[in-house]
Point group: D2
Chain length 458, copies 4
């Protein structure tokens, strides 16, 4: 889970400013580290641990001169959480400066790293994104850009949306299955590339298009060119971008995230109705689906839980005597809306179930009569190898327990998930019902993953 | 606008920890500075500019030993924004250590300061809260605690909820009209005092009671005692705590903030209906009223605006070339829910109108057909002298323009405010219709303010 | 032990800049905290823990506007080591802003504090300098400046060199016995007051005069005026300023510190000769006396010990396994100059003796044949109550042991101190042999100190 | 100019602690950046801009676990001054982790970088030390350690003292001409490698030996092994280590730096006597030679200049109105020792001459009658390519002017340099008169440098 952005802007060294502001609107995609690289004769780089506003200061923006810049916010999925793994990665190579910001996850990064190490390459991090930077730089020695990218698609297995600087050239590329989003917009005097369309909105840009799977955008001297590097018949946009990860004001591959999330709530209401006094959400991620559920069920939507906006990363963890406070600090009940009520509580998904359990109990303590949990996505039964943080089957409650056991564990009066068909129906109503990676819901993977079933084999 | 908290906890020097965590849930009341003082033989103090999590670190909590502690978060209304004005104020006096955290605003602080200066007192800040600390300390020289507090009520004009340490004694006091909230809860091994009940919830405490106007709570050696220092026939709880300022999960003087806010939306729907496709809110403060409006009007509630949670205090302001970005960075439209739609947009209140105007235009640009602004409180026509940041009539759009002019300025298709009667009805339905300070809505002040009409005179 | 400075400069808000640079040359007088206050309509203040360069940043200098400014560096003698005790102290009083920077120590500060507390004053620190600020501010209410200062001399017992701002007026005052130094210089467009003349040199100023004991300098609107507030027949300049504390390039009360220190070394050589291969110093404080000893004895001066300039305040203390490293890190032997040599090792003074002992052993380990310790001042037998950090007789080796015991403890082949007569001879040769506070060497105090003998009684 | 250190310590993860403390005593070799890498299963790294005490905190030492660690302090000679160029460099390669700390300068680093880039390697910095790390890592793929080092000596041209970690193995290597120092000591439970012997002293270690040119020390599992990788008939120890750079308490290749420096002063006195009242030094670097000059000339040594120890890196540069202060802040005259005096002023060397000129004028202003400058090394007439910061002939006053012109520029009454023969005599008296790199004094370089004469050709 990461957010990436790239900007070409002709006038006044504003590229890094645009990147800075667009990164703010992608901050939900990663709060662990942030970085910006720009090019003017040389690549300049600033990166560090923390939020964009903590890492990048006015002095840094002044330092990051040039007409092109790329940015990155990171939530680690491979590589441990340290400065070495922060992005963009910048290398000085035979072809000049190459700076890379990567969103996604390679299945075969260890093989590729070994391959490069055997050729004598050395690494400064354990991130798969550095593998991409070095491989790309190696291909660029002997191939032109399009051939190098084509070669990349042949050896990389996994998800990779990329923005890169090759000296003064800004390049954006999306892997042949289009796992992770990447879109292009126009700004005054230039162009912006970003993980989500909300980042184009944030800088008052005009959305041009989503990159197609296997498509590259090349921006050089103010001109933009789109080339389809590889033709693919399939598509595998991550369905979790719609369920949970992307911002509701983004539109990805023509499907509004808000609309999709609301439709999922509506389908869920049709599939799993229950009599109750009110529909409520686990904030913030369940809100839109809850509004959909309420609309479809005609049961009023109310807020029964309030999230504290100020409990962040730098918060001191409670001492063991106060350990039980940690959930209450983050979320509190609105007693008025809970006491004596039969509640439908909508959430977007359940991974481990431990937080859901605590929330159910909190509502119980606040006097809820009944709590019916409704999950606006199907059960997660398999790990993700493409960048969403659900790594092993052990930690997935739905991979190991049936519905009844789950309800018991969560101490809810009932628990229902949206069906796979319901999910597809919801997405179809919003524009496109097929072409998603559903591996975490089906155990069928769109590319070969050691030890897992691949959809193309079946 | 400030948040205050105080804790007595018998075991393990946890008082400052409790204060730290409860301050998090009061962070919405002030983000400018934060501070904690504790007592164990001496008063220990840590305060600084910024959020609680930025100011207080683990080392500080270890330093802040003792069974009693008080805390403060500040948003300045008098005194400029500097470290000198951060609270708690700690003084070493004839009676020992006195530490004071104050929420409110004195109308006559300049007179009181001059009075004290004439007696030879000196000040280290320009805050009215330091005036309170010094006056209190002076009264304590010759009077016992209750007499000193009584004397305070005779000379202080304005709003003042206070928590204080007098050596190892924890004292909480609410002014005779009860402008600002203050409530008391029980925790394991002790007690907590806080501006809002959500802070009691945050530390898993049990709500005991709101302090009555003119009431003091004294906690000493683990025992709590409540004394009514002064009898008052009137009450003047700030109505803006319900309209905008307090957290929706708090209950103040027996009235649920959430319920009040929702009822205001419902009354507004009854008073000012309009045909539309959807009801939407200006996030976050308008959400609850919008849900109420939607419920009462049977028009569906949708989210048309999404707020960026990460644009905070330390954000670099855009250069002049990018100035126009600053609103878009904070708030974005969900185009899906705006394009081609007739929208009712609910907000809690309007002060200057400039932000509302930009939001209306943003929705217009996103394709809204009609925008009907509905404000869930009456027009603000007079300044507040009791701690809410609306200082002069010049800046108040409703003090200088009629409804038609306001709608024109905001470029909305229609603008309607909740009536004063509607507001009272809403509050009455939630438990209590009278006893509020409505000065900013009526120009009638509950205490004498130079140049303004006082309600008791009329 | 503190350093103070004050500047009036007519042009371009440079006063705080001058103060900043002059504080650097007084940094040897205190490294615990630093602060600057300036006046332009209001007093502005920046202070913090650490060195001048750590506490004051460019932003602060820009903030500290105005034609007058004062500064302070602190090494605590009363009051614990915390931000509350950092100076200057600024108070807002009936007469306006008063900012005070104080070098010295009051014997009766507890009585004065109690007196002020009984009048209703409160304190924000436990520093005796805040007592001075508040007392002064109280006297200024009813008296003019000179009378207020005269009144101060009647009630303050102890040492106090002071620079103060009274709104836009810069005032410098030296106590009636002149314990601590204070001198005045001219700069382009104004004047500078400083603890030592080296600070006047540092800003390319021209030395005008040392303030006489009991004399005040008042700088207002560009004009300077000197007034003798109180006549005294005695003088008690701290002799330790010459022995150890002041910088060798300063001249205090007409006596060059370098010359005095060198003369002490010469007298010591005459009094306590010994045959040896070389004369060496404990760096840095013993160097000048060692050069004097070498010159008088005709024994060559060499460096046998080298000090590490980079082991400072922020250094991580060694873990217990490496505890023995801590001396070696700070000081190392030049083996070449030690091995097989008979050494005379000169130091300025001995307080506890523990460091001297370790140094003697270090030289022994490096192969010194003989080590003859020569101390360029008489034995310290009594505590200082006037600002030098030697607080109790228990910690003073010479208060509790005779010369033979001291030599044994230090493991030196011989130990000799300069005699009291030798010290006076040395000072006389440099310009003035009388008028010093010698209390720590004689147990006779120049002002009444409870439990000690006073020179005026005897 | 850099300082390097490496430690093997068997017990308690103390290696990084030892490195930390030994780096303090090498801080004079570089104040720009500092870093430590340790190995325990993985390499851990902490580096940053600033002094050791600013970069490394307690948390970092706790993080830097393991039995082996290396450290580096940097003053840049190639590569610009930025975090990317801070050392140690750590790479993850086919042979595992390789961490390198380098002192020296490669003449042919651009060729080597191009060579590696052609093989597909990429770089994260523009430092020649990263070239060494990558080349070494490449050789280690196919060669054993000794062959890899031998191969290094065949391709690297320039100076390179290196400490490296190859996983848990600590390796120290000195280039075949031994330009930069490197020595080995014993500590309890292990070994220490360091640029200078003063670092061994600092951790109470026992000096074992200087590494010979072309010699490697390998420490593995607690055992140390020395191997001569390449035989060389020549030696080229940098003579400037003795003249200026190293600490006086170090002994390099059997020659005491203190003794050498003092002997240079003595030879200078013999070669260039002049009648004067006193001999003085430019502090700190000229002190030892001045003591030598004084001893040989029988003219008394006095201190006429005092250096401010607190004017460091983080100091705010004076505004243009105060620009002239910047020298006075760093150094002040002791008027007593200057006024009316004929002075011999000894310095170690002159590069540009601008600082010397200001100091001469400062002494003149303080009343010196005559100022005779004596430089304890021959004129610098050629740039250094091996790590000392004298880069171009343009900046070298002696490369462009004769003695008379230099004296005129410096405004001194006379200027004399030590002769080349005098320098050799001084060094010979201290143990070894031959085997030095004298290129900056003779224009004859010990290895081929493009555009310069090489000593082996002549």
């Amino acid at each position: 889970m990461c957010g990436i952005t790239g900007v070409y802007c002709d006038g006044g060294s504003l590229a890094s400013n645009y990147v800075y502001y667009s990164l703010f609107s992608l901050q939900h995609r990663g709060q662990e580290s942030a970085g910006i690289a720009s090019f003017e004769k040389v690549v300049r780089l600033r990166k560090g641990m923390g939020l964009v506003s903590e890492v990048i200061k006015s002095d840094d923006l002044r330092y990051l001169r040039g007409k092109v810049a790329i940015g990155h916010v990171r939530y680690s999925t491979t590589g441990n959480s340290s400065l070495e793994n922060a992005q963009p990665f910048v290398v000085k190579s035979k072809v000049g400066y190459i700076a890379v910001a990567h969103n996604g996850n390679l299945v075969n990064h260890e093989n590729l790293r070994a391959y490069l190490e055997n050729l004598g390459n050395v690494f400064s991090s354990d991130s798969d994104s550095e593998v991409i930077a070095q491989l790309f730089s190696r291909y660029m020695m002997h191939l032109d850009l399009l051939d190098a990218l084509k070669k990349m698609t042949e050896v990389l297995i996994g998800s990779y949306s990329i923005v890169a600087l090759i000296n003064d050239k800004l390049v954006a590329f999306r892997d042949p299955l289009g796992f992770r989003p990447l879109c292009v917009g126009e700004i005054s005097d230039g162009y912006i590339i970003a993980s989500e369309s909300c980042a184009i909105d944030a800088v008052e840009g005009k959305f041009i298009k989503d990159l197609d799977p296997g498509e590259v955008a090349i921006i050089e001297n103010g001109d933009i060119e789109f080339v389809k590097v590889v033709e693919t018949k399939r598509r595998a946009t991550c369905v979790f971008e719609y369920i949970y990860f992307a911002r509701p004001d983004s539109v990805i591959d023509g499907v509004s995230v808000y609309a999709a999330r609301k439709a999922m709530g509506e389908e869920l209401a049709k599939e799993s109705p229950v009599y109750a006094d009110a529909v409520s959400a686990v904030p913030d991620s369940g809100i839109t689906a809850a509004i959909g559920y309420a609309a479809a069920s005609k049961i009023p939507y109310i807020e029964s839980l309030i999230k504290n906006r100020y409990v962040g990363r730098t918060f001191i963890m409670p001492k063991k005597e106060l350990r039980e406070l940690s959930v209450k600090l983050k979320i509190n009940t609105v007693r008025e809306n809970v006491f004596g009520k039969r509640l439908i509580l909508v959430d977007d998904s359940i991974v481990r179930g431990t937080t859901s359990r605590r929330i159910v109990q909190m509502l119980r303590n606040a006097g809820a009569l009944e709590i019916h949990l409704r999950i606006a996505s199907p059960p997660i039964v398999a790990p993700c190898y493409f960048g969403i943080d659900m790594k092993t089957r052990e930690e997935l409650i739905a991979a190991n327990h049936d519905l009844k056991e789950i309800a018991e564990f969560l101490t809810a009066d009932s628990v229902c998930y949206l069906s796979l068909d319901g999910l597809k129906r919801a997405l179809k109503r919003c524009g496109r019902g097929e072409g998603y990676c559903l591996a975490c819901l089906t155990s069928l993977y769109p590319v070969p993953v050691p030890g897992e079933k691949c959809i193309v084999d079946s």
